[in-house]
Amino acid sequence: MGKYRCLLCGYIYDPKAGDPDNGVEPGTPFSELPDDWTCPECGAGKDEFEAV
């Protein structure tokens, strides 16, 4: 499970950590994030992320 970086603000999504504050369980791969998930730092959509 790879990490993904937000191209706008630099936030890194780590699948091991997930995004529990926004209902994403640890262990969730980036590809399985809901389509409406947004960067918790800046609100960018999934299409603004690239694999690290």
Binding site: L7, L8, C9, E41, C42, G43, A44, E48
Partner: protein, 395 residues
């Protein structure tokens, strides 16, 4: 400058900063303004405040219109201290006022200011009725901070766009119709290049979103208000967001003993002879602010650096670091320079250009001490080929 009524019961109450020349590293050659706006209705709202230290002027302007105690809402469209710096001073006069901000805005304001402020968090779709004026809020995250939002008045067709569409431009006139349009567009471009260039995808999305709004007046947080020329700034933003380029090559370099300078001149002359628009910009006489403004609509950037202590010259490194953060798209890069005993700078410059998102064109060119005829031939050839390529690309 005095307060001014910009629309019925809507006032500009900000501060014109004629003197500022360095705005967190941005060279503000024409000063700036911190635009705060006051909406007078059954409930009174202040849209943003001003930079720390300019609060006395803000309060004087407000007091010329109404008693500051009557302010019910302070709308913070953007957390950055040049707009939030004096909110506390307004709250000292109007302690009951509610600070309205996005969720990220509230977090940021709480980090910056220790006061126990009364917040109302808003998001896209939320609105506040002041009486005759309806304020609608639109989150615009990363345009240009996570907290950023627009406040829109549908009945007045007026948009408070915070830093978007702004310009660092101190003027006595508050409107686009009162200033030299060429200077205004140049300052708007400089602002976009230095503050917003890296957020092109967000700009495009926001412009699409804004198409659904009827807008006759755009009130940014810096510079003049867009009225008659609003379509000009909107279409300029569209072009800048898409990185529309001219057949323009920048030759940006520094030099210690004229060797890299000679390479720069030869490359530039050849590119010019081949029909490209060329600008030769030496780093010791050009500031970063104007350099990246030139980058915005350039098709190629050729960077020259001597090797100093096994590294790029610090001026070149500073430019490339700034360029990397601004993430330009669709541009070609070239690296060249001289060295004494062990090189390295040219390869480092090429790596930085690639990290900045430029596509490298041709081979890098290095020479020891002085460019010989073979080196100059390579520079000439590279300049010619680069010009042909950018002319083809920008047709």
């Amino acid at each position: 400058m005095n307060h001014i009524e910009i629309a019925p019961n809507i006032y500009w109450v900000g501060y014109v900063d004629w003197d500022v020349r360095n705005f967190h590293g941005y060279r503000t050659q024409r000063g700036t303004s911190y635009n705060a706006y006051l909406i007078v209705d059954e409930k009174v709202a202040l849209i943003d405040a001003v930079k720390p230290g300019k609060g006395r002027s803000l309060l004087e302007h407000i007091a010329e219109v109404i008693d500051p105690k009557k302010i019910a809402y302070i709308i913070s469209n953007h957390t950055e201290p040049d707009h939030s710096g004096e909110i506390q001073k307004v709250l000292d006069q109007a302690p009951q006022a509610v600070v309205v901000a996005s969720e990220k805005g509230k977090i940021g304001l709480q980090k910056y200011y220790p006061g126990n402020w009364n917040f109302q968090v808003v998001k896209t779709g939320d609105s506040i009725h002041l009486g005759k004026h309806l304020l609608q809020f639109i989150n615009t995250p990363m345009l240009h901070w996570p907290d950023s939002m627009f406040t829109y008045l549908p009945a007045q067709k007026l948009l408070f766009s915070m830093d978007a569409f702004g310009q660092h431009y101190a003027t006595s006139g508050r409107f686009d119709t009162q200033v030299d349009m060429d200077v205004l567009m140049a300052e708007a471009k400089t602002y976009y290049a230095n503050i917003i260039m890296h957020l092109g995808s967000i700009v495009s999305k926001t412009l699409k979103q804004a198409q659904s709004l009827e807008i006759e007046t755009i009130c940014p947080s810096h510079g003049v208000i867009w009225t008659e020329h609003r379509s000009r700034i909107l279409s300029a933003y569209q072009g800048w967001a898409e990185f529309r380029a001219r057949p323009k090559i920048l030759v940006i370099y520094d030099s210690m003993w004229h060797s890299t300078e000679q390479m720069a001149d030869v490359l530039a002359d050849a590119a010019c002879a081949a029909g490209a628009e060329v600008k030769v910009l030496k780093l010791d006489v050009n500031d970063l602010t104007s350099l990246v403004t030139e980058v915005l609509d350039a098709a190629a950037v050729a960077v020259g650096s001597p090797t100093l202590n096994s590294n790029m010259m610090p001026t070149v490194a500073a430019f490339l670091t700034y360029l990397k953060g601004l993430k330009s798209k669709g541009k070609l890069g070239v690296a060249f320079g001289s060295y004494g005993w062990s090189g390295g700078a040219v390869e480092q410059a090429a790596e930085c250009l690639q990290q900045a998102g430029l596509e490298m064109f041709g081979e890098t060119i290095s020479c020891q001490y002085r460019p010989d005829e073979e080196t100059l031939r390579k520079c000439r050839l590279l300049g010619t080929q680069l010009a042909e390529q950018v002319i083809k690309k920008t047709k």
